[in-house]
Symmetry: D2
């Protein structure tokens, strides 16, 4: 993942809330910082929309599927209808090999302890990826259209896309996807997104953390 | 697919455009029909939004992925994180076994003529589905969490979801997804959606067809 | 205000959350009611979107201005560009004649106690409405286009519009517009909207109230 | 009006469409320019969304009312609930004093020819503005809350707001608001917006013009 471009700073929040002409100062005053905290706490969300982050993301398809559920933002994804898929697949790290405990609505997840079992499971997933890629290539060779041949590919396949989003929608994404109940694999990506957000809008980020990551 | 519920008729278009109190008549006048045609032709789109269609859809995941790109509307999808996938997969019909001809941006598709080849390809896809489902079940048996085990499933797997949408957004969906350049598999679903739309809002539908399926 | 049409019940929330085929029963089970409470508490908002309310609203322009800020929903408004405005204006009730106390961000409002003063203020606003309507008509008579003549009309003028919205967006509207810090005049309209919502989706409404009117 | 900030260039359109890593070159190739034209012509709209324009706008309230109908974008407006309105009003220029000819749905507008009449009408509107501002101030002096006193102000009053929007939504705005059937006063603002767009994304702009200003 990388941040392709951004138009984002804390000053834009203050200026939008005040609808005053932008101050020439690049320093935020104490009153400005107080205003950001106030807006966050009272959930006045619109001043946090006047900025933009453009990301280029590469992730497994089962992660992308959750990402694309977020409707306030723009997406352009690589299409396996028109281009041949290059064969890069997700293989879980050791710590990601997990079992679920409990009932639906109240699942928790535990890393599978036994080393040998865990390694066997990783190998099995890796081997399945290769097997399916072989079948995909075989279908292509037999003349099947790319858009049909890709139907046999598993959701471990990597996809990539551009995502452009404002800070308010981004905070909503982070609230949901950095939560401990979120899918492990998307949490790692969300954590990277969070770092970029914190770097570009540090005071907004601090106020959001202070407010328990509630979307304003 | 089925239409779960709807709140849709041609009269709502006319009333919204006129912002008059709803007439008690259930019959549209000639002036009303002229107004619908005018709104469609001039692309005054908002009067077509005051209605709602709720669909329950079951389709392969690679079709659902295109569907969820449409942001003006509401989705709730079955989650393979919490429930075990039941093993229903897409297998192409004879006519859907196709090759692509031409260059990206200008592809056309042709049914693979040779009967024996086509049948072999269908069998191969069907067999792959079974193979992968076996591996999915095997991972589950070995204690892998559902949300991780499902990662080996191919995008031929069926998913299901609720989709609620207004006629304007629905026309945009149909413009793109009934087009001859759209993915064959989604065109069949879009064609069913189109039938429901035509039945509920016949005059709006007729005006849209007359206008070349351009979204108002 | 009137509810022109709706497609809304509590069962749709449960069905969307479960993505199961609609039960034929019209009775919600205890498990269903528990699910609605769970979704509301955990702020799983999407199952509350699969419904639709269509309102026909008539209100002063300064109230409509706040209403139209809500972007998730559909609006069609009467246009004073094309039709002559009929001269109906807002005149505050006795209890609405108020002064503000405190500082920006922390205003409170108090009814103006003195009867005579209050009546004079009401008369002044009423008289201003008439005066401006006279000038509007005079400009029209002198041949000025409707769209320009209406520019002298005050924001007390009544407008009317169709508004179609789902329960999730409606709850967001109500959270903001029934709040004690909201504009007095919009609170009365919001209260009517709230009644319709409570009548159509009583269990969803009860869960929302129990959860402190936080938008899911 | 001024452009407060932007994150917009033609290269972002090409990169989003290709979902390739951004080229280091700042020069677009001939193939890139062809791709922009193709996307515009075929109405593939999403690649035009990965950019952002932030405007600070000051305009009469009857113009702002049309502006805020555009839902894909972000707004923060000056509030006359919390701050005293400063008394700046719209007064039509000589050429804007117009009458309407024809029927609803087919109006055309003609400048009022007679110099004396036109000047009288301008004076009448200007004088009405002053009269109403006097009444507003008088209500404030008598202790009426700002949010109620402002109700007597005419829609000629100036408001100001921040507007952040992407190029696709901006093109939709321009298609509607630079059209010869659009309100004269908003056309002038839209024309300024168009200039900023043309300056930031010249090739996208050229392709859009070539395509008859149809929103992709």
């Amino acid at each position: 993942m990388r941040l392709d471009a951004s138009m984002a700073d804390d000053l834009s929040v203050v200026n939008a809330a005040r609808v005053s002409f932008a101050t020439s100062s690049s320093e935020l005053t104490d009153a400005d910082l107080g205003l950001i905290k106030f807006l966050m706490r009272e959930r006045h969300g619109t001043p946090f929309e006047h900025n933009s982050f453009r990301f280029h993301i590469k992730c497994p398809l089962f992660v992308a599927r959750e990402w694309f559920r977020h409707r306030i933002g723009s997406f352009n994804e690589y299409s396996a209808r028109y281009s041949k898929f290059d064969g890069e697949f997700y293989i879980p790290e050791r710590d990601a090999v997990r079992s679920q405990v409990g009932k639906p609505g109240a699942y928790t997840f535990e890393t599978i302890e036994d080393e040998e079992t865990a390694q066997l499971l990783i190998d099995k997933i890796a081997e399945t990826n290769l097997l399916m890629y072989g079948r995909y290539e075989s279908l292509l060779k037999q003349g099947v259209a790319k858009e049909l041949a890709r139907a046999v590919l598993p959701v471990t396949m990597y996809t990539q896309f551009y995502w452009t989003v404002n800070a308010r929608s981004l905070m909503n994404f982070l609230s949901l996807r950095t939560d401990q109940n979120a899918l492990l694999e998307i949490r790692e990506y969300a954590s990277d997104v969070e770092s970029y957000f914190a770097a570009e809008m540090p005071h907004t980020y601090a106020a959001w953390i202070e407010n328990g990551k509630v979307t304003p």
